[in-house]
Symmetry: none
Subunit: 407 residues, 2 copies
């Protein structure tokens, strides 16, 4: 019997309210340049400190030791889905990031406008990074001319600069298929092939991509420099059991950026639109308190600052959270978790594999007797270092949602 089946069998429905606050990219590294402090250590966080004194702490491995996750696997793991088992193609993530409302089975591709020479050789994989406005014009052109291929609907959405996504929506489609991208200049665009030669749905997808090229390339022939395009990460939205089916929790998503709304939607959370700041997200949480059992509240600014290597901005983003925290605590959830989806250390200027700190508070979380919540205190917490995919299970336990296992 697998562990998920055990958890399912033990699950009891309770009136408990659970809240997961994700400070994206929260974890960081202490470096001599910053006085051996992390942004979380350097930040003034009186409200979080008070919470820390009554909470359990630990650190979470987002995927597996040493693996740096993208936002997709990072959040799937947080939502309790093994990110190695549930892999979501880059096309799907990109489409979610652009706010495309995907349906199960949709096949998505990341696409780049590119420059081709007269013989079809790729001479610039990014078409000189054309301005976003040009990209939008070209996408509108393609979208106006190519709405359907056979019985398959085609959706095209512009991103930033040379980037866009193509979504194929129809029956009998499946990914992954190989990339329509030579991955370097000087070569032609390779024809797309099914990853599994015996998979009829992948074959249909490959034919569809070929057909799309046949229709689209002539439309761009006179454009300069974007007279071609490449497609990568072509795969369908995988079937993922819903959050509610898995945990018996009606879940709401309070995120501002499309990517995180999309990831929440992927597991069937209800998106609550509107809030534009963390304070507004917390206010909305108060307003929706009775309608849902679980709230996923996403704060992007920490990750952004880490990506920019901006220590002060990351510290400020944490202080912004701390200042807003009392709003959330007006209706204290039965189980409250504060963590990240991964670390984004300023010194790395990007996501990393370092386990992110996690704080868990409930009436039965106990206290680890730590005066603050930081990377260093979290190392000494009762939760230890564990895989992120177990977080929701720990939250459920703290919500008293699990019956005893065995007599």
């Amino acid at each position: 019997m697998n562990l998920d089946a055990v958890y399912s069998e033990l699950t009891l429905k309770t009136p408990a309210k659970l809240a997961l606050v994700v400070l994206d990219g929260l974890g960081d590294l202490a470096t001599p340049e910053q006085n051996h402090l992390t942004p979380l250590e350097a930040a003034r966080t009186p409200n979080l400190d008070a919470l820390a004194r009554q909470s359990a702490q630990g650190r979470m491995i987002p995927v597996a030791p040493g693996i740096t996750p993208g936002s997709g696997p990072g959040h799937l793991a947080l939502f309790g889905y093994d990110p190695v088992e549930f892999q979501v193609g880059r096309g799907v993530i990109e489409a979610l990031g652009l706010g495309v409302e995907l349906k199960p089975g949709d096949v998505c591709a990341r696409a780049n406008f590119a420059t081709l020479d007269a013989r079809g050789i790729v001479t610039d994989r990014r078409a000189g990074r054309i301005p976003t406005e040009t990209c939008e014009r070209l996408c509108a052109l393609l979208a106006s001319k190519i709405k359907k291929i056979g019985d398959t609907q085609v959706l095209i959405k512009a991103g930033k600069e040379h980037r866009f996504v193509v979504v194929f929506r129809g029956r009998g489609l499946e990914g992954p298929v190989t990339d329509a991208d030579p991955n370097r200049e000087g070569l032609p665009i390779p024809p797309v092939k099914p990853r599994d030669a015996r998979n009829a749905k992948q074959k249909k997808t490959a034919r569809l991509v070929a057909e799309f090229y046949k229709l689209a390339l002539p439309l761009l022939a006179k454009e300069k420099p974007a007279n071609g395009f490449l497609m990568r990460g072509i795969a369908h939205q995988p079937a993922i059991p819903t959050f509610e089916a898995r945990y018996q929790l009606r879940a709401a998503c309070l995120a501002i950026y499309p990517m995180y709304k999309g990831l929440a939607q992927l597991v069937g959370m209800t998106k609550l639109e509107g809030p534009q700041t963390l304070a507004e997200q917390f206010e909305r949480y108060l307003a929706e308190f009775d309608r849902f059992d679980f709230f996923f509240i996403h704060h992007k600014a920490t990750d952004k600052a880490g990506e920019d290597g901006n220590f002060e901005a990351k510290k400020k983003a944490i202080e912004e959270f701390d200042a807003a925290l009392p709003i959330l605590l007006r209706k204290k959830p039965d189980v409250l978790v504060v963590t990240g989806d991964h670390s984004t250390p300023c010194a790395v200027r990007g996501h990393s594999w370092h386990p992110q700190p996690v704080l868990l508070h409930s009436a039965v979380s106990g206290s680890d007797k730590l005066d603050r919540f930081t990377e260093t205190t979290a190392n000494c917490g009762s939760l230890g270092v564990f895989e992120a995919k177990y977080l929701i299970r720990l939250m459920q336990a703290n919500a008293r949602m699990f019956d005893k296992f065995g007599a």
Copy 2:
């Protein structure tokens, strides 16, 4: 998709240099007899202390909770090979320990000289622990008379006292086969059988062992007390993917004892011969810095002292390492790990299951703000308690050898 495949797909080749310093049997226990200090705590280690302040720490489970590894599984785990999946027969380990240059497919057996009565009943499984010189004389006698059996080459090498190894080198051989050892006195030597009755190669090995007994026993018939012998752990050297194939790292081994050189050779590391002290090993590391990406540097004295229950000697072995450390740091590797292959607590006088402390230093290891590197500080490190088989993956991450997983 398995995790190794994920790691492989993410691996990037980089110019980074990685060094793994193994203080064999490093971990220990604090006992009242030693003032509640471990040898690592009692030792004066200014250089290691300085490193600790800029490093991450944790503890490693060598195989699985509660399992005490031999040197074979201990090192295979350190090298990142699951020691339960990659089991190496005791014959192979013994042959490696005696410095036999094994080839893939060689079948090896641990052997003991023993005493038999007139009816072939084992009356002393160790032949009264004959002196090593007698063992050497008898091995030379057997080796001079039995060089080949059919097309199979036979190699015989003496060990200490009653111990020796027999290696069968030829085509179509495979282990494991059952032991030619009743495991207690008062019984005859049982005939060897294939572990898998349908395995033709194991059958051939079993016939070969029977033939070897037929040739060897008459040669010993007049000896006293060693007129017979037992054979155990009869198996072939398993096919193990090389370290370089697995990690994209050209690896060198700087070990002094044959067993560790053999284990490194098993995974395809290049043995660098010559050095007789840790200082010389570090000097050689400097000299070979450009030729390899990964250095495995093995220090035996810590384990030996632990096995002897000699606290002072273990402390001294650690201080010897600390004194030599500045040599290594003259060309600081991008990623440096200091750990053991397992604990060998003085109070246990042998290997144990207690997780060994591990220190990891790199530009992105962060600092756990711990002033020293000991069993107790390691308990509060950011690496947590993890399985040794993930160590190389963490080293690769710190060497920035992994691409991001997912978008």
